[in-house]
């Protein structure tokens, strides 16, 4: 069976990670920002799995379980904060939440 080279997957992961990072920096909708954060974490997961396969070492795959759990908790808190914010601000746009002085 044809096997994908690890470096292909790793470059793919780094591209996804930086798409996520750019998303956090430039997008204005908070829900999209939350998705971008998830994208970053999943790129990390994929990186761990690839390295785990490449190094023949199980540690990386174990790490992924922990990261998935933490990411789930993180999005739960994040969505909770979005709801709390929407109740008072009636918006999920970061341009409209600039009350605090810069």
């Amino acid at each position: 069976m044809h096997q994908i080279e690890p470096w292909v997957v790793l470059s793919f992961c780094s591209i996804i990670f930086f798409i996520g990072f750019t998303g956090v920096l430039i997008r204005r909708n908070i829900l999209v920002i939350l998705m971008s954060i998830e994208l970053m974490l999943n790129a990390v997961n994929l990186t761990f799995v690839t390295f785990s396969k490449q190094l023949n070492h199980l540690g990386g795959q174990m790490s992924v379980f922990f990261i998935i759990t933490v990411a789930a908790a993180e999005s739960a808190v994040g969505l909770g904060l979005v709801i709390a914010m929407f109740r008072t601000l009636r918006s999920v746009d970061t341009d409209e939440i600039q009350i605090l002085r810069e």
């Binding site: 908070i30 390295f51 199980l58 808190v77 904060l81 979005v82 709390a84 605090l100």
Partner: protein, 501 residues
């Protein structure tokens, strides 16, 4: 893929010694669970029981941790975690910070109509995260501890749910913090790829044994871990949103964040870099690279923090910038710490001194603040010395300590930090730090001028100081002066903590 051959039985059992050194963690975890269960007793008005359970837990934790400080290092969970004098020293700091925050916020929560038991439970969980952060020996444990601490604090920042500023602050902090954690984690993944381990010591030793392992990817991994940490401690140029967060959060939470969180992030930072600093050979490459990064970060953080604080008229925002400035001084300890043992001891000492005076200042601010954290502008403090001389005196002690004026804790810590930096040959850095420190005296003393030399404005309102808050403020004043007058004891403990790692 390597098969799971045998399960080593010694990993499944815990010796009595291991259970003993884990006691602080058990106490806090158990207390958090009990407090959480107590908070669902709606019929009984859970306000008092949860408050008492929280305080009892925190002080029990302090008592156990202090008792464990002289103990030698014990490695736990197959090298995932260490219980040593360093971690117990920092555990004491976190637990005391949390206990004081809880004591001060009791009346505050009543006044703001926020008397929800979740507040105390969240503080307990974030403290558990901090304690694990200070004792993590593995990047994955470090990440989980960081998230345990941060997730609880994100909610605490947004605790005034009906307030737009609090919501905004929580959201900003959440986005910033999660992005920083993801960057840190990606750095960990890259280090894992280069070295085949996520253990901090393993990564360092491999880089030391095989210089070939220090590839550009490895350096990128270390850089991303460092940047993730610099985000967490709010160092420039990653400080942009932090003043907003500190301003929007409830006052006692700001106090807790600027001390506990900062101390925890620095504790983990110290641990990683003491390990790096002790390794020779290949890591010299890393050290050379990162010396410059820390140098620039320290200077930027000190300059930006101090100069922007000059223009602030809101006390809470001013202390937020001053907190950034103090991060800069701590980073000075970092730059020098990689070359001398005393550097990290001085940094550790500074963390403690800063925690004491900053907690005290925020405790007084909590007592002075009006509804919705109003009444914290400079002119609101006019003539405070006549309205409430004791609080005015306490705030003066804390602010003078932050400015680094003897005989306070801030002076002793700053002196130690700067003199160890001079010993390490960082003259230019020390000159910049001292100049910045001189600038800071202006905005700290301005508050004193308002309190002591201006006439009171408006009708004097009565301040109600609860016993809890009074005890907390008094304890902080005593500690500030005690560490300032007799610093040797604290210095010796800090030295032992750093060496005993």
């Amino acid at each position: 893929m390597e098969p799971l051959k045998t399960i080593r039985p010694e990993l499944l059992t815990m010796s009595e010694e291991q259970i003993r050194v884990l006691m602080p963690y058990f106490v806090v975890f158990g207390g958090a669970i009990v407090a959480m269960l107590g908070s669902v007793l709606k019929k009984l008005s859970p306000k008092w029981p949860v408050f008492i359970i929280t305080l009892a837990t925190l002080f029990a934790g302090v008592w156990v941790s202090i008792g464990l400080i002289p103990e030698g290092p014990v490695t736990l969970f197959n090298g995932m975690m260490a219980a040593d004098s360093f971690s117990n020293f920092f555990n004491t700091v976190f637990l005391l910070a949390a206990a004081l925050s809880v004591m001060v916020s009791f009346r505050y929560l009543d006044r703001e109509g926020l008397q929800l038991p979740e507040y105390n439970v969240l503080i307990l969980f974030s403290v558990l995260g901090m304690m694990l952060l200070a004792s993590a020996l593995d990047f994955i444990v470090l990440f989980i501890a960081l998230e345990l601490m941060s997730l609880a604090v994100y909610v605490l920042v947004g605790f005034r749910r009906a307030d737009r500023r609090s919501n905004e602050a929580a959201m900003k902090y959440f986005i910033l913090g999660s992005a920083a954690s993801a960057v840190l984690l990606y750095g960990t993944a890259l280090l894992y790829g280069c070295t085949g381990t996520t253990a901090i010591k393993g990564v360092v030793h491999l880089a030391q044994a095989e210089p070939a392992a220090v590839t550009p990817v490895f350096v990128l991994g270390v850089a991303m871990v460092v940047f993730g940490f610099l985000f967490k401690v709010a160092a420039a140029p990653f400080h942009m949103w932090m003043p907003d967060v500190y301003e929007g959060a409830p006052v006692p939470v700001t106090g807790f964040m600027t001390t506990g969180l900062k101390a925890a992030a620095f504790a983990a930072f110290f641990r990683v870099f003491i390990n790096l600093g002790l390794a020779q050979g290949a890591t010299e490459v890393v050290q050379r690279h990162f010396h410059d990064i820390f140098w620039v970060c320290a200077v930027l953080t000190m300059v930006i923090g101090n100069f922007v604080a000059l223009t602030q008229t809101n006390l809470k925002r001013m202390l937020a910038y001053s907190s950034i400035a103090h991060t800069g001084y701590l980073l000075v300890g970092f730059v020098t710490g990689t070359r001398s043992e005393l550097g990290f001891a001085a940094g550790t000492m500074y963390v403690v001194a800063y925690a004491i005076m900053n907690l005290g200042a925020f405790a007084v601010l909590t007592l002075l603040s009006g509804k919705d954290d109003s009444g914290l502008n400079l002119h609101d403090l006019s003539g405070l010395s006549r309205r409430h001389p004791i609080l005015a005196f306490a705030l003066s002690v804390f602010l003078l300590s932050m400015a680094g004026i003897p005989p306070t804790a801030g002076f002793a810590a700053k002196y130690l930090l700067f003199s160890s930096a001079v010993q390490a040959g960082e003259i230019s850095l020390v000159v910049i730090a001292v100049l910045c420190s001189a600038v800071s005296v202006y905005y700290y003393l301005r508050v004193l001028v308002y309190m002591y030399m201006h006439e009171p404005i408006g009708s004097p309102q009565t301040l109600r100081v609860s016993i809890w808050a009074g005890v907390a403020v008094a304890a902080m004043v005593v500690l500030t002066l005690q560490v300032g007058l007799i610093p040797e004891r604290m210095v010796n403990i800090a030295k032992k903590a750093v060496i005993g790692m």
